[in-house]
């Protein structure tokens, strides 16, 4: 059985590089049972400990998700995904209690994905997004939260975070899935002409093809890091950027009729 290719990268945006601020995006990946859990978080610029918040949130989310997937009676991806943000939130509350900080100081968004077999589900607080390649083509598995203004978001640390939590429909027949923070929105999502966005194949097809063919997760991560830190993505966004991808199948050794685009 093929092991999925799962890798990602985070790079500091030009604004943080010039101010000497560390990248406030974090991601985590864990394989468990017959599944994968992925978490991506974007620390808020206004929160002084947001990088710590993002680290703790993704770690707690994938830890809980992997444990659920590894259980003998592992639940479906929707149950796993829906539970991951709550574990992340509890971890943040514990950390702030330990450090005697206000919870908002660890402000961050969270995208949590659970994949079992070829089915995936997303639990989402804030911006960032998830797209998937299925047998029917590209789908927007979880869009960015709708906020009117470019610098406004409801984070995981907000009092009303439960009301801001969105759990997607289960996406079936998934071959490739990608999660990213808002620094990559302009590169991956294009306006649909109806006040929404859709996945852009011009960006995603090459990335999916690369993921399908890459020889190792390390090689994949290095290439993503170079892409995210390059001039093309930096031209219209000086924000931190994170992109995590998973090629689930089929693989080159599989029958040619089910190969990547």
């Amino acid at each position: 059985m093929h092991v999925p290719r799962v890798f990602g990268a985070s790079v500091a945006g030009a604004a943080h590089v010039s101010s000497g601020t560390e990248c406030q995006d974090r991601f985590a990946i864990r394989l468990g049972g017959d599944g994968i859990v992925i978490a991506v978080a974007d620390g808020l610029g206004s929160a002084p400990l947001s990088a710590l918040g993002a680290s703790e949130a993704v770690d707690a989310a994938v830890g809980a998700g992997a444990a659920m997937l590894g259980h003998p009676s592992a639940p479906g991806p929707e149950t796993v995904a829906a539970a991951m943000p709550a574990f992340a939130r509890v971890r943040l509350e514990r950390r702030t209690a330990e450090g005697a900080w206000p919870l908002k100081h660890l402000g961050c968004t969270l995208v949590a994905i659970a994949v079992r077999g070829t089915s995936a589900c997303v639990a989402h607080v804030g911006d960032g997004a998830v797209v998937a390649l299925t047998g029917a083509g590209w789908v927007l598995a979880s869009p960015p939260a709708r906020a009117e203004y470019a610098n406004v978001v409801d984070p995981l640390t907000a009092d009303g975070w439960v009301h801001a939590l969105r759990v997607s429909e289960v996406v079936s027949d998934v071959r490739f899935i990608a999660a990213f923070t808002d620094g990559c929105h302009h590169a991956i999502l294009r306006p649909d002409g109806c006040d929404g966005v859709v996945p852009h194949a011009g960006f995603l097809d090459p990335v999916a093809a690369f993921a399908a063919q890459t020889l190792s997760d390390e090689e994949g991560a290095a290439e993503l890091e170079a892409l995210l830190g390059g001039a093309k993505l930096g031209e219209h966004s000086d924000d931190d950027k994170t992109l995590v991808v998973a090629w689930i199948g089929p693989f080159a050794s599989d029958p040619p009729s089910v190969h990547a685009p």
């Binding site: 945006g13 604004a15 974007d42 620390g43 808020l44 610029g45 206004s46 929160a47 947001s50 402000g107 968004t109 911006d127 009117e148 203004y149 470019a150 610098n151 406004v152 978001v153 984070p155 808002d182 929105h185 302009h186 590169a187 991956i188 999502l189 294009r190 306006p191 649909d192 002409g193 006040d195 966005v197 852009h200 011009g202 960006f203 090459p206 990335v207 690369f210 290439e223 993503l224 170079a226 892409l227 390059g230 001039a231 093309k232 993505l233 031209e235 219209h236 000086d238 924000d239």
Partner: protein
């Protein structure tokens, strides 16, 4: 360039935009030194914002002038394409209609942004006046409509409304018109350029802000500030 970078295509190569309407009093009382300083200040503002690489791609400006009439002296354009008009002082002070015109400008600009899929920041309305309105007075229909639109607009986060009174503006009347959370300030004598420099720096900060950032504006009323909070 990474191998992937050569092959990928960017989906939506655009910057988020920040729309600002300058609502400027060009009534007869602004004649002479005040209108000259206003024109010079606007020109300085445009040049200063253009000097910031990020802001020049993100700041959009419009001017609504009110004097002998209310007119859009410059429709919305990017700051790069902005040619400051030469404003002249003449006529009365139809401030109420000017404010409504500015709010309409903001709403239309937002609709354009949405249609094009352009992200945007919360817009600004920046009112500069040296008098009191001649087209409305407290309690009449236009006054009620204008103050309701301004107060609701701020409360609903539709825009940010700043009011600056130039001597001898009626600051008490401006205070009733302006949103409670953002009272008017009085321009210190001759400080037009400093005011526009503050406006330029503020726009640069807003246009550089990212999701989750809290934009801290410099106080305009510090010891070296260009404005003072009226106490009478």
């Amino acid at each position: 360039m990474s191998r992937l970078e050569e092959r990928i295509e960017i989906a939506n190569p655009q910057h988020p935009h920040c729309a600002t309407v300058l609502v400027v009093d060009t009534s007869g009382s602004m004649a002479g030194d005040k209108i000259r300083q206003l024109n010079d200040g606007i020109a300085f503002f445009v040049q200063d914002v253009q000097g910031d690489d990020l802001a020049r791609k993100r700041v959009d400006v419009s001017i609504v002038a009110f004097g002998s009439s209310v007119r859009v002296a410059h429709d919305f354009s990017s700051i790069d394409a902005f040619a400051p008009p030469s404003l002249r002082a003449d006529g009365s002070t139809p401030m109420g209609e000017a404010i409504l015109s500015a709010i309409d400008q903001i709403r239309r600009r937002k609709a354009e942004y949405r249609e094009k899929g352009t992200d945007y920041y919360r817009p600004w309305i920046f009112l500069i006046t040296d008098g009191q309105p001649t087209d409305m007075k407290p309690g009449d229909e236009l006054w009620d409509r204008v103050s309701r639109e301004v107060h609701d607009g701020e409360r609903n986060k539709e825009f940010l409304f700043f009011a600056v009174g130039v001597e001898p503006a009626d600051l008490e009347l401006l205070r009733r018109l302006a949103p409670p959370e953002r009272p008017p300030v009085r321009l210190r004598r001759g400080r037009f350029q400093e005011m526009f420099a503050w406006l330029s720096r503020s726009q640069q900060r807003v246009s550089a802000s990212r999701v989750g950032d809290s934009v801290q504006l410099e106080s305009p009323t510090g010891p070296d500030g260009w404005a003072e909070i009226p106490t009478t």
